[in-house]
């Protein structure tokens, strides 16, 4: 019998949640021009949570808590680190933008923090119903964040689309959970594994349908083809910092739930071939559609779909190697993607003019630092050696080869080659095209600068000295099995 309550396990979640409420209350007493204080409080709160996450790596004894509802294992903690880093960077990216575009909405940070709280719940949940609630906790603030930009109609449209399709997906997820509950009489993942080990009879076909429904629900959130149709429009319509935020954390949260349900616990149903097909379709479709995009946010949206495809390769591989490479790749992806969006936010300083790739013409000579940074992020997203993205892709594809998924690795590598083409388009536009109009000056705000420098340093550092980060990811995976 596990200890009923084990508070330290949920300290990181509590830290985030309490910070969110402090921000909410302080917001009431702050006049409009002092709202920047809120971002400082949020940053401090996330840093505290990150510190607690690191301390929890050393937690001794039984790490299950609250009647087996949540757990604080190495995988969960690793993903919580990713969420904290993503949120931290996203807050840095948003500060100036929020001050300029929606200064009166101080609840912006509350929404972001509570969404992070939901992701953390998903990462630590050991019960299907808790995973579902974490997913809703994560999504509902995101629906609002996508539509927070009251000046722009497209933002509201994005919110509506995200909301309707998100709620639709939750319906599938719930139906799947209900069927699994019916088959086993419980939704606790550990309990289900025990029941199967004890030889409890169950109908594999039926549990299979339940699992597939759960998978559909999570695939919607992660943006797996064919459940990806909301991604481009929502990413384009939402304010750029919000897009940066939701392209990283929520995907990682959906992936960690998939890992927990389908990979880490002894899988009830072997879905390897389903993941194989999904991986191939997602990579290929995302990359093919990204080629033709002119809007940079749409391009990054399709590229994020392709990246989910690479992650699915790791999930197909499964086992320790699959989990560790997926975890490592998600960390890398979070950093480089938010970095790229930070540059997009920077170039979008004046109204929202600079959103088309062709608008980036001439930036190479006009804004040398920003342009070279963007080039590095694009190289990393494309997986060019020397960057973090390369290490991540290498780990995934070498894992696929080690486990005999040769075709998957070949298709993946071919896809990365295709992707380099459209990432290079941005670089070509910046350095080789002449600007159509006179370029206005851009003042880089300190907070945005911090985000850009942190991401840049991390991308280069992970790219050249990946060992520490890799061993962390390996440890996260090895303790899970």
């Amino acid at each position: 019998m596990m200890p009923p309550i084990n508070w330290p396990v949920i300290y990181p979640e509590l830290a985030i949640c309490i910070t969110a409420f402090i921000v909410l209350i302080v917001d009431l007493f702050l006049p409009g021009r002092h709202k920047w204080v809120l971002s400082l409080i949020s940053i401090f709160g996330v840093l505290v949570a990150l510190q607690i996450v690191f301390m929890n790596f050393g937690l001794k004894g039984d790490t299950k808590a609250f009647f087996g509802m949540v757990v604080s294992d190495a995988t969960g903690l690793y993903f919580k680190t990713i969420f904290c880093i993503g949120t931290l960077l996203a807050i840095f990216v948003s500060i100036t933008y929020q001050r300029r575009e929606f200064p009166e909405v101080g609840e912006f940070y509350t929404l972001m923090l509570l969404s992070t709280f939901g992701m953390m719940i998903m990462a630590s949940a050991l019960d299907l119903i808790t995973i579902f609630l974490g997913l809703e906790m994560m999504s509902i603030p995101l629906y609002v964040l996508a539509g927070i930009y009251r000046g722009r109609y497209r933002s509201r449209e994005a919110a509506l689309k995200y909301f309707l399709l998100g709620a639709f997906a939750s319906g599938f997820l719930l139906y799947g959970i209900a069927l699994i509950y019916g088959a086993f009489g419980t939704t606790n993942i550990t309990r289900i594994v025990e029941l199967i080990a004890d030889g409890k009879p169950y109908s594999p076909f039926f549990v299979g349908v339940g699992s597939v429904l759960v998978l559909i629900g999570l695939a919607f959130k992660a943006g797996v083809v064919p459940f990806h149709m909301w991604i481009p429009d929502v990413y384009e319509g939402a304010p750029a910092p919000v897009t940066a935020f939701m392209s990283a954390g929520p995907k990682a949260a959906a992936i960690v739930a998939i890992l927990r349900i389908f990979v880490i616990t002894t899988p009830v149903i072997d879905l390897t071939w389903v993941f194989w097909v999904l991986a191939v379709v997602t990579m290929t479709w995302g990359n093919i559609l990204a080629i033709n995009q002119n809007n940079i946010k749409r391009m990054l949206a399709y590229s994020s779909i392709a990246h989910v495809g690479y992650l699915l390769v790791a999930i197909t591989v499964g086992g320790e190697e699959g989990v560790s490479s997926a975890a490592f790749y998600l960390l890398v992806y979070t950093i480089m993607n938010i970095g790229a969006f930070a540059i997009v936010v920077l170039f979008a300083e004046r109204e929202e003019f600079y959103e088309n790739i062709s608008d980036y013409a001439g930036f190479g000579s006009r804004f040398p630092f920003a342009a070279i940074t963007m080039t590095i992020f694009m190289a990393s997203l494309g997986g060019i050696p020397g960057t973090a993205g390369f290490v991540g892709k290498f780990m995934i594809f070498s894992g696929a080869i080690n486990h005999g998924f040769y075709w998957l690795a070949v298709i993946g590598v071919l896809n990365s080659l295709v992707s380099i083409y459209y990432y290079l388009r941005v670089v070509v536009a910046m350095y080789m095209r002449q600007p159509q109009t006179r370029l206005v000056d851009i003042a880089i705000s300190p907070s945005l600068m911090i985000a850009i420098i942190i991401t840049l340093l991390l991308v280069i550092q992970i790219g050249i000295f990946p060992d520490n980060w890799l061993s962390l990811a390996k440890q996260a995976a090895s303790l899970a099995f």
Partner: protein
């Protein structure tokens, strides 16, 4: 009392009608109602299992799902009404939704 499978088939029918409503309609409000139908179908399943397994956790789930549905309604209707205020239309074709 009706056997378990009757309840499950009823629930599957309601769920399917809900899915149909989401895929086929272009009015945001009706899509939303269809989603509520789906959630109700799930609740019937949970409730039926709970009652036949003699296990209360299913009823607790139903309770939680209802709370989540209420939360979604609050946010969703706010979004729908705010869209209407700008565009005077909530047909999802007009708002460029559902481009599959």
């Amino acid at each position: 009392m009706a056997p378990l499978s009757y309840y499950l088939i009823l629930s599957a029918m309601l769920f399917t009608i809900g899915v149909w409503g989401v895929l086929r309609n272009r009015n945001a409000l009706i899509i939303f109602m269809s989603i509520e139908l789906m959630l109700n179908a799930v609740n019937i399943t949970l409730m039926a299992f709970s009652s036949f397994l003699k296990d209360f956790s299913g009823q607790v789930f139903v309770f939680l799902v209802m709370a989540i549905a209420a939360a979604e309604v609050a946010v969703g209707l706010a979004i729908i009404v705010s869209i209407f205020r700008v565009k005077e239309s909530i047909n999802v074709d007009d708002v460029n939704l559902m481009k599959w």
